[in-house]
Each structure stands twice: as C-alpha cells, then as structure tokens.
C-alpha cells in the first residue's frame, strides 16, 4: 500500500538518531546537526519563518564541509536531500502550517477539517466564534469557502459526522455556528472581502453561476484574474437558488454573498446559455484564456412508466422547484404525490404544502430506514403534514380528460437478493392499489444536460454521463478547460461543489502561470492557531447542544419564511465551548497510557480517542483521582495536555478543559512551592512511608535534607 510519508518528519527522525548514536564525532559538526534539527523542529511544529529555508541551506552546506567522516557526510546528505528533493514540502509546511501526511503532529488538521470537502479550518473559526470574534471567524472560513452563510444553512455537514465530540454526546453544531457568525458579521457590516492581487491581465470564463462556478470565480478574482460568469438563469446561485426552497435558504442570503463577488469585479451574464445563446468558439474569440464548466445537473431522470408523458400535471421535481423559485407560485394540485426518498422529494412535498395543496404524499419504494433524505428534513415534513407511503412502487399514471386522476402503485417487500446480504424492494404481485391524486411529482434524481456542451469542444465523458476530469486539478481532457460541481460528480452537495471550485481555481492559476499541476488533491490548510478557551471539566460535560428554534407550524404550512430561526447569541457562545480542539489534541492516547500504566493512577477517562470503538468519557473523573504529577503533560507530543502553576494553584488541562486544580503547598521553612498536597502524599507513600517529614512539617527537599542533617553535623567531631 502506498504510504504518504512526510519527508520533514522522516529527516527529523533520522538525523536525531544519527546525533544520538554519536555518529557525528566532531563537536562542530554535532553542533551544526543540532542546529539543523532545531530548525526542522520549528518547521514541523509550525513555528518556522520565511528565513528558515535559507538558514537550513547554509547549515547543510556548512555541515558538509565541516568534516569528511562518513557519519557527518551521511547527515549532511540527509539534510541536503530534504532541501533538494522535497523543497516544496518544506516550503508548504512553513507557508501553510500544514503537514499533508499528518506526521508532524502539531500541524495535523482536525478530523472535522479533514472531513470538510472545502477544507475549512473549523477549530479555529469555532474558537473565534466562542470568543465573539465573528468577523474574524468569517474571514477564516472565506479563505476556503466564499459562502459561509449559505453553507451555514444548507450544508450536509460532513464535519459534524466526524466531530470527535459526537463520540461523547452530540457533535458540535458547526453548521449553525457558521450561519450565526455570517449573519452577525453582515449585520455588523464587518463581512468584507480580503485584499485582491494586482490585475494579471488574463481572463477566465466560467459557465454556470452555481456554488462551484462562483467559488472558482471568487478565488480567481482574488488572484487578479478578470472573471466572467455565464448563467442560463436570470439570477446567480444555480441549484442553491432554484433547487433549494426559500424556507431553507432565503434568496437574500445568496444575493448578499453573490454581491461580495461582484464587489471583486466578477461580471455576470445572465440569461446566457452555452450552446444556445453563445458558442464556445465565440467565447474563445472574445479572448478568454481558460474556461471552467460548472453547468450543474438540472435534468431529471424519468420514471419510465405509462402515462408519465401524457399529462401536464406530471411535473418533474427539479422543474417544479425551479419554477417556484423563479416566481411561479401555483399550487401543483389539491392532492399531490411526490415519488422518491431524497431531499429533493422532501423539498417538493413541503413546497406543495406551502402552495396550498391539501394532501401531499411521498411515495417511496423502500422503508423509512432506507430514505436517503436528511432525518431533520423528514421530521419537519411530517410535522407540517406530509404523509409517507413506504414500500410503494409506482407503475402507471392514470388520468382522464387530459388530467391526472391517480397513480397506480404496487406494494413492495424488502427481499435479500442471492449473493447479497442487503435487501432490495421487490413488488408484490397482485398488490395493486390506486392513490387518488391530481398531480404527480417524480423526484428520483438528476442528470446533467449534455446538449449544451455538444458543440465546440471534445470533452471526455464518463459512463455516468458526467464530465471526466483529473480529480486533483479538475482539468478535463481538453487543455485549458476545467469542470466542477454536479457536472463532474453527478448530483452532489453544495460544499463539494465549493471544494471543487476552489481546487479548480488553484489549477487554473497554475495552468495560466505555467506551473506544474499537483499530483494529489490538496490537503486542508490550518488558517490560524487560536489559544484554547478555558472551560471547567464539569461545564464541558454539562453543556448540551442547543435545540434549533423553528417557525410556528401554521406559518410553515402557509409561507416560505425561513423555518430554522437560528440560535441565540448566548447559545452560540456556549456551543462553541463544547469543541474539543482536535487541532491540538491528536488523541494519540499517550497521556492515558502513562497515567494508567506507568503512574498506575488511571485518572483520565477519555473514551473518545478511538474512532471505531469509543467508550465513556468523563472529564470530571480526573479531579477525583489525579495527583497532578504532570506525567501526562510531559509526554504529550502536541502540548494539548498542559500543567501549570498559576495563582497558588497547580492546574491540569487538556485543550483548555480544566481537568484538575489544587492548591499548591509551600515549604514551611523557606516558603518554596513544593507541589499540591495529593502529589506530596503520593511521593511520600512511595519513597519512605515510615519516615515522616522532620518534625512533622512540610518541607522542600533542600530544607528537609538540611533539617535531617543538622543533628549529625552538630554532633560530628571536627
């Protein structure tokens, strides 16, 4: 199996071993090697500056010339190889504070950041939100995602699935914190674009103003390119605008974030469809230097059942949602059946209710358990009065006089297919029944409209009818043409499109600068290094994820007002304090092992360390058992576990969570700090349980020695 090792870490380990083994015999060469090690540790720990590389070059050369012994030459060759062969990795460590292989422990991104398709530095912005620095949090988010408000409302939140806090109770509500910060920063007029690079004099054409296209537009505009976005619809937003109903994502949210792009000079040409209103040849003639296709997947799959094409009341869900989003707010029918089990089906059903449909049923061929839609969306739909018909397979649309009158269905059962342990729905013969409806909305998936790309370019397509790209660069088979979003992945998520857009912008920049493209997709980059927020262990355990307040049911059934009303400011600040700061603690478990196996105290009940088998965690247990010896902190490779003496107390904390604090005792003779009482007892028990302190007093080592030695000294003959 290929293993992505970090050359910085590997060199560090090898060079340290060489020094330790005494292979560098001359003091001068040993000193030079140690200096190189110091600088490499700076790099590995995210502390290196821009002059580190030059200093390393000079030291490596000096080491090479210092001594001809094989040991010294081997060490110099090691350092030289790192500088020559892996210079880009070194520079990347210094520039981004990120170790792609995750081996330089202090630089590894947290699981939530790794999980985010856009690679947002989540622990940093959550900490900033916890401190009330919302505008700074938004600036951090926009380094990787130009649509924090949109994602705060509609992201599928892979980060929360990987959130380590979820192994204790519930994941941190990352998505809603982001929405709060965006709204607050905008409201405070502190939501601003970062500085833009000077004009590069080159122009990029982006086809499609969805999340992928606009993300690329944002980062290219920041890099100094002239960006023009073509959009077939009369407004920007793509699927965010016409595929997600307004009660989940208000139009104003998209408009405000699009306005930020316009402020950077991105130009939009609306109502302009590639292949219909303009051809690729015409665009090439306009002088664009690169193209990005982000055309989305706006065509629906068909049910392929009789009657589907015979009645105007059979409306494809994605068309229905688009028409409603563009202002056609007509009730699709009094009794509506939506076919499908995904989020689009739920959206179509809830939209029908809001338009006045009296009875809305979602027909799904599997069970509730298999529904791919978000659980919260399903629950909210049920609350609003949407009915569900599970294990229901549509077989024909029925109608009379040009109008739909019903949907013929079959009952299904879940059956294990031969050779598979998983069950599939199989229609039951003779179980036909009719749903009496006057409108049918199929929502069984989307595909891309390949017609608009049929002329002028010779793209390679996958067997799934998506554009084939190099996933590291999003470059298509045609040089200078890139593609992102649903057109590449098939119907996917907003945040995936954003991640793709960012990757494409980077690749287009390299393409236009003539720099070689990367071989691997980018790894997330740490954008800051925030101090830990101090929280008592009991608070950390007691704080619970807040409930999202919802609009009242009557309004949800009648209007398109936003359903999720957002957290209060107090809830947001408290929720941010639940974060475990996994960007600092890597859950290596060394602290637990030392405490349990070496010190035999077992004070750390940190059951969230294991991904596959988490067990109970209770930060409060530490206080009951911990002696504050500091062995855990001394062995922590990242500084997550800290022990410090402050204000007359010794305090042990992990990533800011205060696990234990005890009053420090002082020497009754000289007044020096001698540690907390529990620690002193532990030491006394193990060193000399039968020997009490001289005269029953608490003394430091020096005073105790002096006190014990005094009688001997006094009586010793001189």
């Amino acid at each position: 199996m290929e293993h992505a090792a970090c050359p910085v870490n590997a060199t560090l380990v090898e060079l340290a071993a060489a020094v330790e083994a005494g292979r560098l015999t001359l003091p001068r060469s040993r000193r030079l090697a140690e200096e190189i090690l110091d600088l490499l540790r700076d790099v590995a720990q995210g502390r290196a500056g821009t002059d580190h590389l030059a200093a390393l070059d000079a030291l490596a050369e000096e080491l090479r010339q210092s001594d001809d012994s094989p040991g010294c030459q081997a060490a110099a060759a090691l350092a030289g190889a790192l500088l020559a062969d892996h210079r880009e990795v070194l520079a990347s460590h210094i520039r981004t504070g990120n170790c792609a292989a995750g081996e330089c422990l202090r630089l590894a991104p947290a699981p939530c950041q790794m999980a985010c398709p856009a690679g947002i530095d989540i622990p940093t912005y959550i900490t900033l939100i916890g401190e009330g620095r919302d505008d700074e949090a938004i600036a951090v988010i926009r380094r990787d995602n130009p649509f924090p408000w949109v994602c705060g409302l509609v992201c599928t939140r892979p980060c929360e699935f990987m959130c380590v806090r979820g192994r204790i109770d519930q994941p941190v509500s990352i998505k809603f914190l982001k929405a709060f910060a965006a709204e607050k920063a905008l409201s405070d007029r502190r939501y601003v674009n970062p500085p833009q690079a000077a004009d590069k004099g080159q122009r990029v054409c982006i086809v499609g103003a969805g999340p992928g296209g606009m993300t690329a537009a944002y980062y290219l505009a920041l890099k100094g390119y002239g960006v023009t976005v073509l959009e077939a619809l009369p407004m920007a937003g793509g699927m965010m605008m016409v595929g997600i109903p307004r009660y989940r994502l208000p139009r104003e949210v998209i408009d405000r974030e699009v306005a930020m792009l316009e402020a950077l000079g991105v130009r939009f040409r609306f109502n302009t469809r590639l292949g219909r209103d303009v051809s690729l040849e015409q665009l090439r003639a306009e002088g664009f230097d690169a193209f990005l296709f982000a055309i989305g997947a706006h065509k629906s799959f068909k049910l392929n059942i009789p009657g589907e094409d015979d009645y105007p009341q059979v409306i494809e869900a994605i068309d229905f949602l688009r028409r409603v989003a563009l202002g056609e707010r007509h009730m699709p029918g009094r009794r509506v059946v939506v076919i499908g089990g995904g989020n689009v089906a739920i959206d179509a059903a809830r939209t029908s209710l809001r338009l006045g449909s009296e009875e809305v049923t979602i027909a799904y061929r599997r069970t509730r358990h298999e529904m791919p839609a978000d659980e919260e969306e399903v629950e909210q739909a049920e609350e609003e009065g949407v009915h569900f018909a599970f294990l229901t397979v549509p077989v024909a649309v029925q109608g009379a006089a040009g109008r739909v009158t019903g949907l013929r269905c079959l009952r299904a059962e879940m059956v294990e297919r031969p050779g598979s342990s998983r069950k599939s729905p199989v229609p039951i013969e003779g179980s036909d029944f009719d749903l009496e409806v006057d409108s049918v909305i199929p929502a069984i998936g989307q595909r891309i409209d390949i017609d608009c790309l049929s002329g002028g370019c010779d793209l390679t397509w996958t067997r799934r009818n998506t554009i084939e790209v190099n996933l590291s660069t999003m470059e298509t088979s045609e040089p200078g043409i890139f593609a992102v979003g649903d057109a590449v992945t098939g119907p996917a998520t907003v945040v995936e499109a954003i991640g793709g857009g960012k990757r494409a912008a980077e690749a287009i920049d390299r393409h236009l600068l003539g720099i070689p493209q990367p071989k691997l997709p980018p790894v997330p980059v740490r954008r800051g290094r925030c101090a830990q927020i101090e929280v008592p262990a009991s608070t950390k355990m007691i704080l619970k994820k807040p409930e999202m307040p919802l609009l009242n049911l009557e309004r949800r059934r009648t209007t398109f007002q936003q359903v999720e009303l957002g957290y209060s400011e107090n809830s947001v600040r408290e929720e941010a304090r639940r974060c475990l700061r996994c960007d600092i603690c890597l859950r290596c478990g060394r602290c637990v092992e030392i405490c349990r196996d070496k010190m035999q105290i077992d004070a750390l009940q940190l059951g969230y360390f294991d991904f596959d088998h988490p067990v109970t965690t209770d930060f409060r247990r530490t206080e009951e058992r911990c002696i504050l010896c500091g062995a855990c902190a001394a062995n922590c490779p990242t500084g997550a576990m800290r022990i410090e003496d402050r204000n007359g107390e010794r305090i042990l904390s992990i990533c800011g969570t205060v696990l234990n604090r005890q009053r420090l005792e002082t020497c009754q003779s000289c007044g020096a700090v001698i540690g907390p009482g529990r620690y002193l007892e532990y030491v006394c028990q193990r060193t000399d349980p039968h020997l009490p302190s001289p005269l029953g007093r608490k003394l430091c080592d020096a005073c105790a020695r002096r006190a014990k030695a005094a009688p001997s000294v006094d009586t010793m003959p001189v």
Binding site: E2, P117, M162, G341, H369, A373, S420, T489
Partner: protein
C-alpha cells in the same frame, strides 16, 4: 446496495470503477463514515461521499465499501 448517512464503512478493496483514481489506493484499509449517500435512486452504481478517518472526504464507488456496523 444502498448506504445511509452516518454508517461506518471500511474501504476494503480497490475499485475497478473508472472514478477510482490512483491516489485512492492509500484509502484501502481505512475506515470512514457515509456523509452523503446516493440521495435519490439508491443506485448501486452511484458514487457515495465518504469521510475517511484522517484522509478527508471523497466520493467513492460503492464496490470498494463494506459496512462496519451492519
């Protein structure tokens, strides 16, 4: 085969699918969580989005995945 959000999976083999890129070889043996399944038609051929422990989030063919908590 269909996966649901939140299920733990193992990438237990390479996929022969055209969407399997060489860099994905290093995911074999890793565990992850399904974060975006095939959202519409439970198509065994659809790509599903998996957050892989320590390796980020990727869209993978289903034939390389197996459930850990089935």
């Amino acid at each position: 085969m269909n996966f649901r959000r939140g299920q733990k999976v193992e990438i237990y083999q390479r996929s022969a699918d055209e969407m399997w890129a060489p860099y994905m070889d290093r995911f074999v043996g890793c565990h992850g969580i399904i974060v975006d399944p095939d959202t519409a038609i439970n198509d065994p051929d659809a790509l599903v989005e998996v957050s892989i422990d320590g390796h980020g989030t990727h869209r993978l063919p289903q034939d390389c995945l197996r459930l850990l908590d089935a």
